[in-house]
Structure formats: C-alpha cells, structure tokens
Amino acid sequence: MKIDVTLMINGKRRTMSVEPRQSLADLLREDMRLTATHLGCEQGVCGACTILIDGQPARACITLGVAVDGAEIRTLEGLQDDELMSILKESFHDKHGLQCGFCTPGMLISSWDLLKRRPKLNEQEIRLGMSGNLCRCTGYQGIVRSIKAAADKWAGSPSAREEAEG
C-alpha cells in the first residue's frame, strides 16, 4: 500500500505517494529525476548516495522515503549556488579529485559537511572524515589534495568566519 509523504526537496515542497520499501535514493532518482545522487553498493558502505537530510549527511540508499516524511532534503543539485560547494567543485577540478566521477557527488556532499563542521582541517583529519566514501579510481590522493585546497580557501573566506562566529 502506498503512503503519502511530503518532502522539501532542494527548497521545493513535494507531496507524493510512495511504496514503504522505496529508498529515498530511488525516490530522488526515479520519481524526482534528481540523478546526481548515485547508487553504488545500496547497502550503506560506499557513500556515493550521501545527501543532506535536515542539513545532516545521510545515506539515501538505506533511508526509506516514508521514514523522512516532513524532512528537508538537499541533493547536489540543490547546492548549485552554494559558496562552499562552488569552492569544492573548483578544487576537485584543479587538483584531479576525480577520474570516472561516480563517487564524486557523495565525496562533494561529505566534504561539504566536513568543512561546514570543521573549517580548519589537516590531511589526517580529512582522510578520517572522508573514510565513509569509497573511490575506486583515484587512490584518494587527488581527493585529499582537493579537499585540503578547498579547506584552505574556505577558511580564509568571510562566510566561513561568519559561520564560525554565528
């Protein structure tokens, strides 16, 4: 039996009827056509489907759509105009933070959350904070360099200081 849920997806209010067994990832990709959220393992291991639920990172593949009724969902598409996300995307481009790009949406969301919570990070902290996202191409060196470059840039930006003070 389908159940009605109302979600705020990337700032837009959506009401839909979903099967209880449908994952939030499938709901976003198939019903909403928001395909930036990638599905790798579908058992919560690889991190490719990481999105933001009420501002907090979560695995969309092991979150049921029905269980987040009323929540505010943000996917990579919904962070298009975000300052920190723009810095991260630029860094991933400059420092070779991707090869095939499959893991990149999850990498971007996880690193976005990491830098929001902790603006100043060293390499070790980046590796620890990003350990829940798997990449099978780069060997992680480029990803870590990208996030470090973004972290340095973000730490010097006025908005980061505002957030730290606020």
Binding site: M1, S23, G44, G47, R59, I62, V66, A67, S131
Partner: protein, 276 residues
C-alpha cells in the same frame, strides 16, 4: 526497489508502537535509525511483513538529567553524543564513542537504542554501556522494566527483550569526576566493526577499576580479576598474564590469535587511561 514488500506504520507513541509489535501472526519489526536493518532489508536477509517506525516518537529523542544519572532516549542518534547536544556524565567517554562509530553519514541517523537492541557483539555502545554500568529501560505489553546493561545481551544478536518489547531509554550513572577512562579499538579499516575493543576505567580516589572487552562472540566480557590487578597497581607484564588467564578461563573459546589480539587491545585501553 531492493527490499521485498512490507507494510509500514509510523508509531505516534511508545504504547502505539508496542501495540503494533504485539502480533504473533506476522513478522513485525521496529525501525529505529535503520542503519543496520535497512541494509539487511535491501539484501533481503531480514524477513519482515511490517515495519513500525519509531522516528515519530519525540519522547524517545530526549535526554534528561536525573540527579546522579542521565536518562538517554533510545532514539538519540550517535551524532547527538558526538556533538555534545546531550549532557554527559562519563567524563567524555560517551561523546568520544559516539564520534567514532562508522561514518558521519551513519552517525546522524543510527541510534543508541537501535544499536543496543541489535546486540552485534562488535557494536560500540554495547561495550560502552556495560563498561559504564548503565541500565536499560524497556517497555512492552506488560509495562516498563529495567535491567542492568550487563544482563541485557544474552548472546550474539540475542537480547533479554521479550515479545513486543522495546528499549525506550538507556540510563547511565554519572561517573566520579576523578575517574579516568581509556578506549582502544582494533579495526582493519576506519569506521568498520571492531575486531576487538576494550574500555578501561580507573578512579584513583576510590581505587576502583573496571576493564571490559568487546567483539568477543557474545556479550562484552567484564574482566574482574584483571581490574583487581589494575587497582593493586600491577605492571604491564603482570597485567598481561592475568588478562590472558582470565580470557582463557572464559567460555568464549578464543583461538591463539584472538587471545593475542584481545590481550593487546585490553592493555592498550589500560594505557590510554593513563595507567601503566
């Protein structure tokens, strides 16, 4: 869609959830944070006819200071401890443990009650609540009851929960301010379930020590003889022998390599408590 079809009920209260679970004809399971259950549903390893979602019960998401103890609602996520959004009476042990379970994207949804109910022998909270001598508050068709954390788990993935019973809170006594703790966890990859992990506690005022070992094929092992040696101020060599002896004497049938691992991890936890 990966899981087999199931019905879904969003519980409005603890009583409503228990009434839904009290069904002998179909398989009804409670859904907490879903970080273990939903992967199992996706893999079709956990049969279920109906899920009762506890996510809408606000009473389970509160932490309350009650004099000399703190009552943590079962639906508090690991991240609430990590971010210190809930009070702490463990001198920082619970925030530390909450911050190193799996990964941030799991910690924001996985809950303390869900983790303890699953009773994975290698789970972090299980070891922690046994080490802190907490109590598990349970609610079911017969009403509420409370049992010591050490008696809650009866085996790997087996608990003292009866039919249709749920954990509603974890009650942790405030530890003495003079107590020090040490934690050590052996994993092959960051964020994974532990191969072995231990927590050592020592209060120099009362000279009381506690050493608890997890990921041991069942409930955590409380190593009382070894703790007594810590209180006596034994050195590393002596402690190593006593831990080895106590592990061999346990009913867990450890292989030589596991004995070595568990002994080493126990000693490192003691070291991290600032002892040795």
């Amino acid at each position: 869609m990966k899981p087999a079809p199931f019905a879904y009920h969003r519980a409005t209260s603890l009583e409503d959830a228990v009434a839904q679970l009290d069904d002998v004809d179909t398989i009804v399971r409670p859904l907490a944070g879903g970080q273990s259950l939903v992967p199992m549903l996706n893999l079709r390893l956990a049969p279920v006819n109906k899920l009762v979602d506890l996510g809408g019960i606000d009473a389970l998401k509160r932490a309350e200071e009650q004099g000399d103890r703190i009552r943590y609602g079962a639906m508090l996520p690991h991240a609430a401890f990590e971010d210190r959004r809930v009070p702490d009476g463990s001198n920082g042990l619970m925030p530390f443990v909450g911050g190193q379970i799996a990964y941030r994207a799991v910690r924001t949804r996985g809950t303390i009650g869900g983790a303890i109910s699953l009773a994975d022998p290698a789970a972090d909270w299980l070891l922690t609540v046994v080490a802190l001598e907490a109590e598990i508050s349970v609610f079911g068709p017969q009403g509420p009851r409370t049992l010591p954390a050490g008696e809650f788990v009866t085996g790997p993935y087996l608990t003292a929960l009866d039919h249709a019973e749920l954990i509603d809170a974890i009650v942790v006594p405030n530890r003495p301010k003079t107590e020090r703790w040490g934690h050590y966890k052996a994993t092959r990859k960051i964020g994974e379930y532990a191969e072995s992990m231990a927590i050592a506690l020592f209060d120099k005022e009362s000279n009381k020590a506690r050493l608890v070992l997890g990921a041991v094929n069942g409930p955590p092992l409380v190593l009382e003889e070894s703790a007594a040696e810590i209180s006596k101020g034994a050195n590393a060599d002596k402690l190593s022998l006593v831990i080895q002896h106590e592990l061999v004497a346990s009913d867990r049938g450890f292989s030589p390599s596991k004995l070595h691992l568990h002994r080493t991890v126990s000693l490192r936890a003691i070291q991290n408590a600032g002892l040795l």
